[in-house]
Symmetry: C2
Subunit: 222 residues, 2 copies
DNA sequence: CTATCATATTTGTGATCACAAATTAATAAT
DNA sequence: ATTATTAATTTGTGATCACAAATATGATAG
């Protein structure tokens, strides 16, 4: 698998293991990895042109975060989704992300607001053209564009691990309804940010998660 | 520091890195580690009688979970608590743990119930004798004795990382009010389990977290 | 005794090697 | 052609080594 072409080049200020970790995260969060595909340490190491050491550190971290599995011994796979996992991810998201957005609201300046508006435009375009990978990418960017404003040292990394777990599963949707039926509550979120209306933002994020997870749930049950 | 004496002997069925990881978790969750103390990979490796390899994997995992820090370069420390971290931990706990308890309720059989009653007895004794380390240990055992019944694949590991982050901070309480002022809602939780009353259990856990975190918060502000 | 600088030691990182266990390929037998 | 058995390869794990960067130590000068 050609990985290097889909990954940011290495910033030499970063350690090799951080580069590999960030790259794998990016590949997972942008929907490049589909549940079930498997790797080996040596395989990833060759793809990145590093030794197995930094790969072990990066992959083990992702395994401990639940994004990857070391199942069926001696193989690293992208975790499969189960109904039980999905239900818990949904609960966790609904209980954490709206609150996280509320914490971030006061730290969203006009520059960041414009960024969000721009991301949402790209998102709409991805939906209209049926580009699922772009949809996944921009949806992530929109949510974390809000969340990251708050610099929450605990909740932000926590929520990121939730996204690492369900993002690969998004790809399953591609083979089904496509992007036509996708609705989002990003417009209400943007309005709420403009109004500095915390309650409205929390509601918008809550509804957005509910809608998005419902769509995923339908793909799970078939 | 003499670590091996406070740690379970190695089960040879487990990998070295898992043994080290589990041991470090146990030391953190039982309050043996106090915020700020620092280690090196080689130091831990010598304590455990293994090479640095498994220590790197275990410690890096704990770092990514937020329990340890690799701050002030070249030294591994037990993370310091800040008000901001604390507030987020409190929110996360309140939003996840009561629900987790609710999910577990139906899986608590009479054997586990008796276990919980027994743990709570030990907890009461620890409080009456002012033994903070035992208090921390049994409080953990009580909560996770409930949570683990549900086998929740996402929420359970998530909540465990929250406990890894605030447990060392419990020790600060030792130098302050002691255990005399400690209240807990474990009796109400046990009653709720006996009655199979989900709402009552959720309320009991919620109150217990609120009470416990409030006590910790007082120690933070002085 | 204090401050400054050079030296020695210790640190995390990454590469490499050895090894047993697991997987895959190849061979033999029916 | 299919299955059973054996050989070859590949895998993750853990130990060891090299190295640059950071820390600790000691000598020297004021």
């Amino acid at each position: 698998m050609d990985i290097l072409s889909k990954v940011e080049p290495r910033d030499l200020k970063l350690n090799a293991n951080e580069w590999v970790y960030n790259s794998l995260c990016q590949l997972i969060l942008s929907g490049e990895f589909v549940p079930g595909i498997s790797f080996t340490f040596r395989g990833i190491a060759n793809s990145f042109g590093v030794s197995t050491m930094p790969v072990r550190e990066a992959a083990n971290r992702l395994i401990s975060e639940g994004a990857l599995d070391m199942s069926e011994k001696r193989r690293i796979t992208v975790s499969q989704m189960t109904q039980s996992k999905f239900d818990e991810l949904k609960v966790a998201r609904l209980n954490l992300e709206p609150h996280l957005a509320g914490l971030a609201l006061n730290h969203i300046n006009s520059k960041r607001l414009n960024l969000l508006i721009n991301i949402d435009k790209n998102l709409d375009y991805a939906i209209s053209t049926g580009n699922v990978v772009d949809y996944i990418k921009y949806n992530y960017q929109f949510h974390f564009g809000i969340y990251e404003a708050g610099l929450s040292p605990v909740l932000l990394p926590l929520v990121r691990t939730l996204w690492l777990r369900f993002s690969p599963f998004y790809r399953i949707v591609a083979g089904r309804a496509g992007t036509q039926t996708m609705k989002d509550f990003h417009k209400s979120a943007i309005d709420a940010i403009k109004d500095k209306d915390s309650v409205a933002l929390i509601n918008a994020i809550h509804s957005d998660i509910l809608e998005g997870m419902e769509m995923l749930n339908e793909s799970l049950n078939e």
